[in-house]
Symmetry: C2
Subunit: 574 residues, 2 copies
């Protein structure tokens, strides 16, 4: 379990402080952001590789920021995606003028947040590519490679991309090489025991004593099968067999091999296992090139390990063996070997805050919006432990704490922000997405901001316009998230609400009446998600295990729209 | 706990195999020995730094073998000293012609085994020095600095010594610098939870939930105080205060600083702690030079950490920041930077096995000796679990398993060896010491071989000569171990046996009769060690806690002499 922490809510900030103090020769903290770029960066004319994800996986991601590896690393809260705002700020700071590759493991929250950051960077003229890593063969079949999660294979893919960028490769080239490396990479993992988050009373998940869980994810996503404890040699055979099953037809046998420990499975155990792995790989005609045995992508003190193979050709081999010099991983004589030496001069941020004059009607509506966001925050606080418990069944248990962080920041931002309803909801949405991190954070942030955009700062706020604004924002959200109704997400409680709201308002009901009816429909739909099976971006075993439990995002949706309805009833806003 | 292993008795060998497979570019396995030397060694004209200790502490010791660090690392079984034989073989292989420094943490077993190896190397004309590290301020007072255990401070001392040797320093210089570095180094550690050895049903020790043990050793040696869980910031204050309390008057404030994790206390927690440590050190006027935060001296998956400070002057700073390139620790541009490039040609081992012709009487006695060693092995096997349990109260619980490994090897060697009683007991003793490792291993090995030497291969074996041989060997053993009677060691059960044996034989009793009487005295004396307080090489808190429990070595002494007595009774050997 986690023993060393101060306020659990400040864990990430405390990590950032300590890491900055330990490695000033390697990294600079990006001002005002939860990330680091390599010391002396950004480098003029160099493609910038920006990696990131939740914290709890050190040395991923800040620990591999440096020469020949990543230009910058962005950290979210424990096991939660960094917000789009954070990714944007770090990437912008690290941009050397030759474009940015954003890279991360394939998780829904990371995909959403990095995609929004990409949009913002592109809008500012920074050519930005995304490469997400999909190496975990336990998380989806080979036919659905794009749905696989990213685990320790992120290390080899980032390493090769970082080496290519260091070698003056163009943005197109770095992107191509990283996709190629990802396609050539397979990992398979096992877990023996779970980890406990700081301040939590119970482990995130439990592996029964004497059991091994095959394919369990690095955030505790359920595995594909379990087995009684076996010898190290038998375990090696299982890992090697799984990984070799996906050996590409054209692989000549050269491979970068990682045996990665998750945290509490220690080096001695890894070497015991690796002795047999090496022999089995050699028997299968595999030539290991500079293998690594150690802790590269951890999960706090989870007990378990994974085997990663990246099949090499001449190009990938060159980038795999290339020098690197970072706080946690060093190879060869990298220090000072960089081809890039000139620091890019970063222009001061040009912010032209053209504040639109808000109408009195919009200012009045803004006060209702403020009260609604405060109510949203209150109901989340009341239910955050229950939301966490529901989320722990099929996810990583952080829905409650993420929504709490986001809604608290949103309430504070709404309270402090003056102006029309668009301005207030934009501030609330930005704060929500930034502080919550993860999937729910960015979606709620977009939903709030989207309603504000549709209402604007000048027109009168009528029930019809509110219903239309909610409908518009929900539709945009669905398009962005790429989830379908029935996928067991918050959308399953959002659209019943939207449909009912539009219908009731269309019948001439007051906004408060219509909203109350719609909220009841949302609550019922949220509870009904217990019978659904998730389909998007999640592994099949998870799907099976989550049956019978509602989606936490759908439950919080019902709670929030109900709480907002109570505000509307009091506000008597027609 | 330890989840990944094959046969627990083969754990070390499996580690060695996997490590060799992982890092062939860094290390060569020393043939026939449980250790590694840097690839391409030994280097002509270079002082060789040979470090070692029990396994279970990776990256110590094999993981820091390479350019600018150790020339070779020797590994014992889990938490047990490597045998003198292993240390000798590895050091001999790694010797570059300019002398050897043997370095290790200050534990009784390591001190004995490395001292015997030093003697053998010296006897062969290899100038060999010993530097043991004593950095753990919790393990003895500052007045008794020499009694302190070695913990994570071994890392800085080895690093500086390795850098000096790489920089062409002479043997005298390397030894001086390492003593200086040790004198300048203090560590203080805490533990949150114990580790479980492979195959063990129970943890080596337990820290109660919600407790912190201050000063607990890296093999679970009891600490000096305990406290309820506290915040990371408060813990940082405790660590810094303890370590700064021993700041030397002449220190100018520069310091190498390590925050070392023991295994299950992960990087994120270490960074949270380090943020505050760094601030407190800065407030105290300390300038950190290239600090390291990570896992440098682990204890399997024990949860805990330690803070180490080595106060620097210009000389030590130069060696601290110097480049290094090893499997687990790399700094700067070390690869290929070595001043030494010529591999020393190692002459083939000259073995002149001048086998003395054994007399028929000695050959007959050798059969009794063989049976005695087999009986010794049998009684150890019968009681090994109980011996382990007794040892776990005040030690690391490996007495049973170590004696089992040693006596099994001794029985096999005795059975396979032809010749007189000296030859057979010499083979048994060598095998015992080599395979058991640790303190008991070397002492039992010396005892058996010593009895053989005193009996010789030619003279008839009489009760008087047996009693005199046992007395001689026991006396030599005491001189070597430097323990006093009453220090709560195996000697407390050995000397009552010796005295009684000599006395009874003097009265004209048969050897079997005399031995039986003496064995009964040994058993009684062994049980009586429960009332003693250990004094040698152990920390005071341990002394207090062990009261009421007999010494496991004294108990096994009584068991063994009793079992041997039964053989003598059957053999009817007068």
């Amino acid at each position: 379990m986690t023993h060393v922490y101060n306020d659990p809510a400040a864990f990430k900030d405390d990590i950032l402080r300590g890491f900055a103090a330990a490695y000033p020769q390697y990294v600079d903290r990006v001002e005002g952001a939860s990330g680091f770029q390599r010391a002396g960066g950004p480098l003029e004319g160099k493609v910038s590789l920006v990696i990131g994800g939740g914290s709890g996986h050190y040395p991923s991601y800040s620990g591999v920021t440096g020469v020949g590896f990543a230009d910058a690393g962005v950290l979210g809260d424990l096991f939660a995606s960094p917000s789009a705002e954070q990714v944007y700020r770090v990437a912008k700071a690290a941009h050397g003028g030759a474009g940015v590759v954003l890279s991360f493991g394939n998780y829904a929250g990371d995909r959403l947040n990095f995609a929004v950051a990409q949009e913002r960077l592109q809008a500012e003229g920074i050519d930005t590519r995304i490469v997400y890593v999909t190496d975990d063969i336990a998380s989806a079949s080979a036919d659905e490679r794009g749905k696989r999660r990213g685990i320790a294979g992120t290390f080899t893919v980032y390493k090769m991309g970082g080496a290519a960028a260091e070698d003056s490769a163009s943005l197109d080239e770095v992107e191509r090489i990283m996709h190629k490396a990802n396609d050539a990479t397979c990992s398979f993992g096992v877990a023996f025991a779970g980890c406990t988050m700081p301040g939590a009373d119970e482990p995130l998940f439990v592996v029964p004593d004497g059991q091994i869980e095959f394919g369990l994810g690095i955030h505790g996503e359920p595995g594909i099968s379990s087995s009684p404890t076996m010898s190290a040699d038998d375990l090696a055979a299982q890992l090697v067999e799984r990984v070799l099953a996906e050996r590409p037809a054209d692989a000549d046998g050269r491979a970068a091999v990682l045996l990665n420990g998750l945290g509490a499975t220690k080096y001695e155990e890894l070497f015991v296992l690796f002795g047999r792995v090496a022999q089995l790989l050699a028997d299968a005609g595999v030539t290991m090139v500079m293998p690594e045995v150690g802790e590269l992508v951890t999960s706090l003190d989870m007990a378990g390990c994974s085997l990663t193979v990246t099949w090499l050709d001449d190009e990938l081999e060159r980038y795999w063996v290339a020098p690197a010099d970072t706080p946690a991983f060093r190879r060869g004589t990298a220090a000072g070997s960089s081809k890039f030496t000139t620091r890019r001069t970063v222009a001061a941020d040009e912010r032209t805050a053209a504040q639109e004059q808000a109408s009195p009607e919009s200012v009045a509506a803004a006060q209702v919006a403020r009260d609604a966001v405060v109510a949203l925050n209150r109901v989340v606080e009341e239910h955050k432990e229950r939301l966490g418990r529901i989320d722990a069944i099929a996810g990583d248990g952080d829905h409650g704490i993420g929504m709490s962080r986001g809604s608290t920041a949103a309430a504070a931002a709404a309270t402090e922000t003056q102006g029309g309803v668009q301005t207030v909801l934009a501030a609330a949405g930005a704060a929500f997405g930034d502080k919550a991190g993860g999937t729910s954070g960015i979606l709620w942030g977009m939903l709030l901001a989207g309603v504000g955009t549709a209402l604007g700062n000048t027109e009168a706020v009528t029930p019809q316009r509110v219903a239309a604004a909610v409908q518009q924002s929900a539709t945009d959200l669905q398009a962005f998230s790429k989830a379908e109704l029935g996928d067991k997400t918050m959308l399953d409680a959002l659209f019943p609400f939207v449909d009912e709201l539009v219908a009731e308002v269309g019948k001439g009901r007051s906004l408060a009446q219509a909203w109350a009816t719609a909220a009841a429909a949302s609550v019922a739909a949220g509870e009904a998600t217990a019978s659904l099976v998730p389909k998007i971006g999640r592994a099949r075993p998870l799907a099976e295990r989550s049956v019978g439990t509602p989606d936490p995002g759908a439950i919080s949706m019902g709670l929030i729209v109900t709480a907002v309805g109570e505000v509307l009833a009091t506000a008597d806003c027609g």
